[in-house]
């Protein structure tokens, strides 16, 4: 108890006035979507649920066992892999992305890495091209990550189809 008092005292004695430039940044801004006057801002289900709903109303965007006890050795590796996969998908399917490719789910099952999510085809629907790109992406990522990679991307006609709400 006395020890705390001592701390307070030292804190007061060293305090001095200063211009604060960081006060607004103290707020939690994550997952706070800004509404529009005419309700045109599209929200997917993923966006509409708050971070504290993860594991309750919505799930994770990456699935692996590296965040469990005794599995932590390669957690940074998984983060790096995720980023590689996400960037590749975003760069490789630029015309087909839904909400800028922010909601790609990466799942790991055994040695297999599965990329799931939605793509849209309203801008151009050439199924042969899609098959070629899927084949290329799967093989490219497999060779890069040295493990089998599968794409389980489903198609919607346009981005509006994944809308959960407009704010």
């Amino acid at each position: 108890m006395l020890r705390y008092l001592q701390n307070v005292e030292t804190h007061i004695s060293h305090s001095y006035r200063q211009i604060s430039t960081t006060s607004t940044l103290h707020k939690n801004r994550a997952a706070k979507t800004k509404s529009t006057s005419n309700r045109t801002q599209l929200l997917t289900y993923e966006m509409a649920q708050k971070p504290h709903h993860i594991g309750v109303r919505k799930s994770w965007l990456t699935w692996h066992s590296q965040n469990l006890e005794e599995f932590r050795q390669t957690q940074p590796l998984v983060v790096a892999q995720d980023e590689v996969v996400r960037r590749f998908i975003r760069g490789f399917f630029p015309q087909n992305l839904v909400v800028s490719g922010n909601e790609i789910v990466i799942k790991r099952r055994g040695n297999v890495l599965i990329v799931a999510g939605f793509l849209q085809y309203s801008r151009r629907l050439d199924i042969r091209r899609i098959y070629w790109m899927f084949g290329f992406a799967e093989e490219f990522l497999s060779i890069l990550l040295k493990q089998p990679v599968k794409l389980e991307l489903a198609f919607v006609e346009s981005e509006e189809e994944v809308a959960y709400n407009y704010i």
Binding site: T74, L77, V84, Y121, L125, I127, R128, R129, I130, Y131, W132, M133, F134, G135, F136, A137, E138, E139, F140, S142, I143, L144, L145, K146, Q147, L151, E152, L153, A154, F155
Partner: protein, 714 residues
Amino acid sequence: MIGRIGLSRVLTRGLSSGEAAKLTIQPAIERSPTDLLNALSETVGPDTTAPHFAYIDDPITIPSTQSAKKTYFMAKEFGKRAARELATEWPTLFAFDRDQPRLPAFRPQHLADPFQVDPTEKSLLKMIKSREVQDSCVLYERLRSENVEVSEKVQLELFRLVAYYNSSNIPFSEWQEWAGIRNFGEESNGKWKTGGVADLLFETLQKTDETVSIMIAALCKFHDSQSVERAKELYKEHQTGKIHLEAFNGLIGASSFNAAKKLAAEMNSLKISPNISTFNALLFSAAKISKYEEKIKAFSEIIAEIRELDMEPALSCYYIIVKNLIDSKLLDKEKRGENEEQSYNKQLTLAVSWISEILNEIEGDIVFFKKRLKIRIFHIKIDFLQQNVISEPIFRSKFFKMYDFSHRFCQNQGISDENYKNLAPVTSQCHLFFVEAMGVLYRASNEKLAEQLRNIYESSQNSIKMPVFTVESTFYNRYLQLAIEQTPSLNRIQELYFSMVPRLVGVNNSLTSLVFRKISASSERNWPLLRRAIVDGITAGQLNGVLGEEMRKQLSNVQLHTLGTSEREQYTTLVQKLVAVWIEFSQFTEERMRRLQRKLSPSQISECALLLTRIGEQQKAYELLELLLDENASSGEEATVYPKGHARPWAMAELFEDALRKKDTYGAALCLEILSLTANRAKLEPLVNRMVEKCNVNQEQARILQGFVRLRPQ
């Protein structure tokens, strides 16, 4: 408090009811550790109607026709090959090397360049082992030019390789890594390359039994008249030695039947036992006999010979027989004369009876093997009883459960039906029997045998499988068309169609028109089947041409009052979709899209208008009909309607009646104007009278109508 009252009540009730039924605990049912898992696994199974796993599991990307299946599969494979090529070319960009142990499968490498590798025997041997035929030839030439000594052993290895593949790279059918190319790649069996590395090596190497045999077999494998002659000469020259079985097989297959019989006799004298390939070669030579009766006799003799030697004919033997039971020149229906028709029917009957015999034989074998399995299980049971039951009383008391126990024991020992797959591939042609036999049964319209053949193919005893997207699809297509042709019941057709299309059988024009024909001929009504056939037709691009016309006809024949509420909604949606697609196709008038354009014909417009009226979209229907009277719509660069042809009178009559019923003067007048393009005054006058009578037409309008009709030709 409440709890206390509840407890006291329970206690009182318990004390007062002395005669309550006794609670008896049932003895636990004995279960093995895997019983629960087995029960669970029985609740799920493969979905035979689901798309093949090679495709992207999404409705827009699942192919429904045979050509789409091929295109998509190959597109994906070429994508993979492109990625692999990149990784081979720039391996440093893929150096995310965290795998332990290192996985060579994810580190593609260029094939060794024969001009760059060390000119040593070791590199040559490495190339031979990886079956790079042409590269091996190049390296061998290089070694010779650089005077590097190549041992006889390596030369023999190289000779084996180049002779087997005729100094060419391995055929697509032997590609291991790329399934698409393996199945869809087409290659002709080329002729022997004279003066190639194989010939050079043959001259260099000693003429042993093996080298001569390899050469003869190779010359017969890639045969033309010259190479067969050369093979025969080699055989004659080497009479002192003993050539191998493969060489005999090659010679037999390339000779006439009489010569083949002599060769077989010589084999016998040399005490060389034949194998199935020998008999295949004999059958192949027998198939060359021009006289039909003699050919059939030869087939019977060969099969009897196989049995005589205590061997089982492989399905490839039956394939060669079935393929040659009907003369190829008789197969084309249009080219057959009257006499030929008779001999065709005779041959077809004979072919069916052969197939019937063969199928009974195969099925008999399956039953026989099942019996053998039962006998084996029985023996194991007896052994087990002797070892355990007698000594341990616990087993004696539970003797009645012995069957289950021993069955489980057999399973643990790995003894099951699976061990007794008697239909196993012997040669690479065995699977072709199924498709060839189904072809004959389809010609003969023999559904019963076709069903039997299908059951054998799908049986768990059969391990001979056809490649999925090529041969198997043909097999099921023939079966499905035959079964649909033979049954009058639309429900049965629905069941068959739903279970096979598009997973096993791709949507195709002949199948769709057959389904439509059966629907038209039947007195039953089956909306789900019709809807499915039309929806499949849309995805398979059958909307234009004859099938599109058939779809409109079928939809017009649907009696809406027989459909339920949800079915009527489906009908509405389908008509809207079809009309929208046809209109969209007609509007591709831009230069770059014109090759896709399909203009609307007047008959098509009238039918579409009728369908739209049925679903209550009169406004849209009249808008379509107006196109028939609009000259700009059928002329010029922007034309969307064919200038030729006429609206369907029956459709127009129904549309006119509908307009009268609704007292729609505009609609009725529009129909009358379109009808006047083809009908004469006599036919139009009663229509005008009815219009005046039914619709709210004032005097002025009536006068105009009558004047209009009077101006028409008589």
